[in-house]
Amino acid sequence: MQFGIFSVGDVTMDPTTGRTPTERERIKAIMAIALNAEEVGLDVFATGEHHNPPFVPSSPTTMLGWIAARTERIGLSTATTLITTNDPVKIAEDYAMLQHLADGRVDLMMGRGNTGPVYPWFGKDIRDGIELAVENYALLHRLWREDIVNWQGKHRTPLQSFTSTPRPLDGVPPFVWHGSIRSPQIAEQAAYYGDGFFHNNIFWPMQHTKQMVRLYRQRFEHYGHGRADQAIVGLGGQVFMRKNSQDAVREFRPYFDNAPVYGHGPSLEEFTAQTPLTVGSPQQVIDRTLTFRDHVGDYQRQLFLMDHAGLPLKTVLEQLDILGEEVVPVLREEFAKNRPADVPDAPTHASLVAAAGGGRDATVHAEDDVTGRTAEVVR
C-alpha cells in the first residue's frame, strides 16, 4: 500500500500571526515539503492544479520536474490534473516528458475541478464538465498508446496524423487515477478503463465515500478488469498530530476555524465526527485511518492533506516527521495483515512495464524531409 501527501497549494494567512506568505515563499515551502516527504519515507507526493488565487500551483509539471531532479525514490502525482480545461494533447506531452525525466516515477489523477470561472478562462463551459472529462480523457488515452492519432471530437480541433512526443517511457503510459467526489460517471469512467479511482473524502462523510467506491468496484468487475476487490482505490485524509491529543486540538483549532472551504462553518468536533479529519495523537490517527478499510475494502493509496490553511512550513515539516516516523510504518504493517495476496498494489512504472512484458523504446523517428516520407507511411 502507498502512503503520501497531497498539497492544494493555497496561499493562506496564518491566523495565529496574521501573516500571509508570498507566492515565492509558498512555492518554495511546497518544494521543501515534497523533499521532506521523500526523506521521511513516504511513497507519493501529489500537487493540485489551480488557476486562481489563493492557489499557487498553476504549472504542476514544472513543480514535479523540479522535485524529480532532487529526489530518488518518491512517486510524483497530481491531485488533480484538470482533464476538462487542459488540452489533452498538452497533458500527453507534459506528463510523458516528466515521466522520462523522473525515470518513471509519475502517475496522474484526473479531476474536473470545482471552480466554475476556470472553464471560460480556458475557453470551456462548466456545463460540459462531464462531457469534457470523457472526451478529453478518451483522446489522452489514445495519444499515449497510439503513435499516430487521427481524431475528431466535439470540444477540440481535429487531429490528423498527430504524434505526441515524447512517447511514453518504455512504451508504457503513466498510470491514471480518476478523482471524483460525487459524480458516478467518473467512477464509471475509471472502471471502464481499468484505471484507479480516488475518492478525496476529506470534506465528505465516509458513508458517501463507501457508496462511490462500491460503485467503482462493481463496474471495474463488470468491465472485466478483475474482481471488484482487486480494483485500484485511493482515499484522502486530513490529520494534525501532537504527542498529546489536547495539544494537537489546541494548536490546530485556529487553523481549522479559519480554513478555506470549511472555516467558519461546523465546529472542529463536528467536522471530526463527520469527516475523516483526525486531530489528536499519532495513535488516534493510526486507529482512525485503519477504519477506512472497513468502509472501502483493501485499498492501494492513502494520501494526506498536511499543508494548508496557513500552517507554517516548520509545523508542516514536523507533521511529516511524525507521519513518516510514527504513523505510516504502523499503517503499513497493519494494512498488510489479512490482505488477500491477489489484491494488487497500486501500479508503478516497474509493475506496468513488467505487465507489458518488458520495456521497449517507443521513440517515433521522423523520416527525412527529402523523401517526404512520414512516420505513418513507414509503419
Partner: protein, 204 residues
Amino acid sequence: MSSRRIAVLTAGLSQPSSTRMLADQLADATRRELEARGQVAEVTVLDLRDRAHDVVNSMLTGFPSEQLQEALDTVAGADALIAVTPIFSASYSGLFKSFIDVLPRESLVDKPVVIAATAGTARHSLALEHALRPLFAYLRAVVVPTSVFAATEDFGGSERSHLAQRIDRAAGELAGEVVRREPASVADPFELSESFEQLLNRTH
C-alpha cells in the same frame, strides 16, 4: 389499509411555536382525511429549529450532516409535504428557505404539498400566494389550491372555526392528491442514467 408517508416541515423559532401548532393541526387533519380514504398516515415532523446549524453548515461545507441527511431523505421520500413557515419581512423565513435550498434538486417534483404560514396579523396572509406558491411551483411540486394562513387572532379569537375549516379543506385536497399517486420513490444518486459507451459516443 396501505400506509403513506407525510413529512411536516415547520420553521417556527419559538417554543412553543404557533407555526408548530398549525403544522400539527394540518398533520392531524391530513391523517383523518387519509384514513377516510382507507390509508394510514405515517407522519414525520421536521422542526427546522433543531437543524438550523446543520443547514448553515451544509451550505458552507457542501455536504449535509447525518441528521440533516435524514431530514432531506424524509422529505424526498414522503408521499406528501406539509410546509409551514412564519412570515418574516413579507416572505418565508430565511431558515425555511435555507432548508429548501439544501434539498437536492428534484426532491419535490410531483409531490403534493400544502403551504401554510403564521404571522402576527392577517395583513401578511397573501405572502403564501406571492412567495410560497411560486417557490414550490418552481420546484415542480403540486401545491394544493387551499393554502392555510393563521394569525394570532385565529388561535385565540372567534375566528378559530374558520381556520379549522381551511385546515380540513387543505388536508382533504392533499389526501386526494396522495391517493391518486403511487407511493413516492427516491432516485438513487449513484445510479447511472446512461452507459459509458453512450457517454463516449455523445461527443462524437
